[in-house]
């Protein structure tokens, strides 16, 4: 193992702040979105020179804007340049509403191994004695935690990369530990604006024709200064946050396509990434239409955060749909092999054969301090366990001929076969008189008493 050290070519991308190389060749540089589980789904982060389109079709929530805030906050924290494009009020609201790190993380820069609040509580109470058989197993987890994500590189690769990681840590954090209860200090915003780290490009919706071309020119200029080839380019990475205005209607979607296409080209020739968010009214109509698919085609990665505020669930806030994953200069997205949340990479391990597994269903949840993407697991009873309500009135216990009347009231712990109810009527006609009491009222309202709360047959 010690003899095996993967050599990273020395010329592989100068060390830029807040940028980490991918774990697979050709070690393309990656940026963090700010959410560790999101980075994992993308394969370690969003590759430089790509764009991510986030759609949130729910009209009553703003998940896409939340991701946008993470993206911007991470850019500021890592010392990268941020350019916001969108309607003036909207981008101000997003910028001022960004989250920030808790004070203890703020002073000590580059300490990604500090525990989050939730993890601290768990660690304190973790003195439970576990049966010896299970001691070696790691804790059940549905998501990738913050400190785990900073070490998702394979171990052998890490041995070779340790020195580089130290350099990266000093230059700027990759993924900060953001806390949703903290807001970004106004001083940080004004400092960043003054130093030119944050630049905004407000779009005026009243100028229908000029709106797109002015945005295009702004993007071109921003990418010119961060171009990979120009001799006078800065040493900083640019994050472009494109917030498509919510006031646009569906008929103006075709006009956005040249903008997105040109953005794609500008990104390719510069060290920049873009996060595009579509407002809910445009997402809802574009999911099936050809214009929506054209937008999806022009972006490198597309993710939908589909939440249903009309029928909320307790275990998650919405489903994550990965419509497209970044595959820069490759036919297969590296996230297939690298993502632990998606669970596809396991198939290639071992003897190299591909076992045909599907990928995990992913859901997202906004906890008190963090936004996480986790695997969606059904409960033990197959997912119905959540809907524990009183049983419908017509459900009866199947009274088998052998059983005595006393046992009817007490529930067997096995599942009730609803279809067996119809079979009881002919069989009980030959029984003794004691048992005739129960079949006499086949439609009687009987409570199905299971050992746990309520019945689980809701349908």
């Amino acid at each position: 193992m010690s003899a095996f050290k993967r050599r990273v070519p020395a010329s592989a991308h100068k060390v830029l702040p807040g940028v980490r190389p991918s774990a697979l060749p050709p070690f393309h540089p990656l940026l963090s979105i700010g959410v560790p589980s999101f980075d994992d789904v993308l394969g370690g982060g969003l590759p430089l020179a790509t764009s991510l389109l986030v759609m949130s079709p729910d009209l009553h929530s703003a998940w896409a804007h939340l991701i946008q805030k993470y993206f911007i906050a991470q850019g500021i924290r890592s010392g990268q340049d941020v350019c916001l494009i969108g309607e003036a009020d909207e981008i101000d609201e997003i910028l001022n509403g960004c989250m920030w790190v808790p004070p203890e993380d703020d002073n000590i820069s580059g300490r990604p191994d500090s525990l989050t609040d939730d993890e601290r509580d768990e660690a304190a109470s973790g003195a439970v004695k576990i049966a010896w058989r299970y001691e070696g197993m790691k804790q059940f987890s549905t998501t990738v935690s913050h400190n785990a994500s900073s070490s998702t590189c394979m171990l052998a690769f890490r041995l070779a990369m340790d020195s580089m990681l130290e350099l990266l840590r000093a230059a700027g954090e990759y993924c900060s530990n953001f806390d949703l209860t903290r807001r970004i200090p106004l001083s940080v915003i004004s400092e960043a604006k003054k130093s030119g780290q944050i630049s905004t490009v407000p779009i005026d919706l009243n100028e229908a024709q000029a709106m797109i071309s002015s945005a295009l020119l702004a993007i071109t200029e921003a990418c010119d200064t961060h171009s990979t080839r120009a001799p006078k380019s800065t040493d900083r990475v640019l994050r472009i946050a494109v917030v498509i205005p919510s006031l646009l209607d569906v008929s103006s979607l075709p006009r956005l396509l040249p903008l997105v296409h040109n953005l794609r080209y500008q990104l390719r020739r510069s060290s920049a990434t873009a996060l595009i968010t579509l407002p809910p009214n445009l997402c809802a109509s574009s999911s099936q239409s050809s214009i929506g698919s054209a937008m999806i085609q022009l972006s490198d990665a597309v993710i939908t955060l589909a939440s249903d505020s009309l029928s909320p669930s307790t275990s998650h806030h919405g489903i994550v749909q990965l419509l497209k994953l970044p595959s820069l200069n490759s036919l297969v997205p590296p996230s297939d092999k690298l993502s632990t949340l998606r669970g596809l990479g396991q198939a290639a391990k071992g003897d190299g054969h591909h076992r045909g597994g599907g990928e995990n269903n992913l859901a997202f949840r906004c906890k008190r301090r963090h936004f996480v993407i986790e695997t969606l697991n059904l409960d033990v009873e197959g997912g119905v366990g959540e809907r524990r309500t009183a049983p419908p009135a017509a459900v009866l216990l199947p009274s088998a001929p052998e059983r005595s009347v006393d046992q009817d009231a007490e529930a067997p712990s096995s599942l009730v076969d609803v279809h067996a109810i119809s079979k009881t009527t002919p069989s009980t006609s030959v029984e003794t008189s004691e048992r005739l009491a129960s079949p006499k009222k086949p439609k009687a309202k009987r409570r199905v008493a299971f050992s746990d709360a309520g019945g689980i047959y809701d349908f």
């Binding site: 050709p26 071309s213 295009l216 020119l217 071109t220 075709p254 396509l257 040249p258 903008l259 296409h261 040109n262 794609r264 080209y265 390719r268 020739r269 050809s290 214009i291 698919s293 054209a294 999806i296 085609q297 022009l298 419509l323 497209k324 820069l328 200069n329 490759s330 036919l331 297969v332 297939d336 596809l344 198939a347 290639a348 054969h353 591909h354 076992r355 045909g356 597994g357 599907g358 990928e359």
Partner: protein, 260 residues
């Protein structure tokens, strides 16, 4: 004629007059077919290839072709591969400075009388720069973008008709990648009615899997010549594929072809 084993038969594609239409979906992208066709044509020296790319730069094509074992630079210097860049300038504002390179398509101006004329002229120029004696193959990467850049569908139809006429005149084979999701219905029907071979790539109905990326179906198009060289596959099951770093591995459905 070849059985589908682990390769797609491309020798017949560059026959003059052939038009292979590849339809893909967002969930099952079909770019790998173009890569296979390009790699096979260049490696076997069956045709000279002109590639028109709307969505990616030359670096992207070079990187993936190198994994398939083809170095595009050597073929480019030999003039058997020409890259027409329809990506960098095409959506710039019409007033922006234009590149002097004849292989870069200038910005499309929707207000112009024939907006797609510059694109057509660039393609003609590229085709004329290769050796006229050898068979030629013109590949298009993702043409659904054209429908959104010009105000009327008639312009796009006009462009395609001009291209088909050019195909008859200059005698080259045509391979077009069109997304079923991102194109308008009547453009899909238009191209389908003019093709000699139709390849449709669809995702699995049950979602993404690590073993199978999608399914592929190939049919003769309406304009195929019955006694011309055609592709026949002897197979009993639907054909599926799995995308790997170096192209696609073909699996017959229900067998363990790609796994064992």
């Amino acid at each position: 004629m070849a059985l589908i084993a682990n390769s797609l038969p491309v020798a017949s594609l560059a026959e003059p007059g052939h038009f292979l239409l590849v339809n893909d979906r967002i969930a099952a992208p079909g770019e790998f077919i173009l890569h296979h066709v390009l790699a096979a044509s260049l490696k076997d020296s069956t045709a000279e290839c002109v590639l028109v790319s709307f969505l990616e730069r030359l670096d992207h094509w070079k990187a993936i072709q190198s994994k398939l074992g083809v170095t595009l630079e050597t073929y480019a210097t030999r003039k058997s591969f020409v890259f027409v860049d329809a990506f960098s300038q095409i959506t710039m504002p019409p007033s922006s400075p234009r590149s002097q390179d004849p292989l870069v398509v200038p910005p499309i101006d929707p207000e112009a009388s024939v907006p797609l004329r510059p694109l057509f002229d660039t393609i003609v120029g590229a085709l004329r720069s290769v050796d006229p004696e050898l068979p030629k193959l013109l590949l298009f990467d993702e043409v659904s973008l054209l429908e959104w850049l010009v105000p009327s569908q008639a312009e796009v139809t006009r462009f395609w008709r001009a291209l088909f006429a050019l195909k008859q005149k200059m005698g080259f084979g045509l391979v077009v990648l069109q997304s079923l999701d991102a194109s308008h219905n009547h453009m899909i029907e238009f191209l389908l009615s003019s093709c000699t071979m139709h390849l449709e790539i669809s995702p699995l109905a049950s979602g993404r899997s690590s073993a199978v990326t999608g399914e592929i179906a190939m049919q003769r198009g309406p304009l195929s010549v019955s006694d011309g060289p055609s592709y026949k596959a002897v197979r009993k099951q639907a054909l599926q594929y799995r995308l790997t770093e170096s192209g696609a591995v073909w699996i017959e459905r229900g067998t363990g072809g790609g796994m064992l």
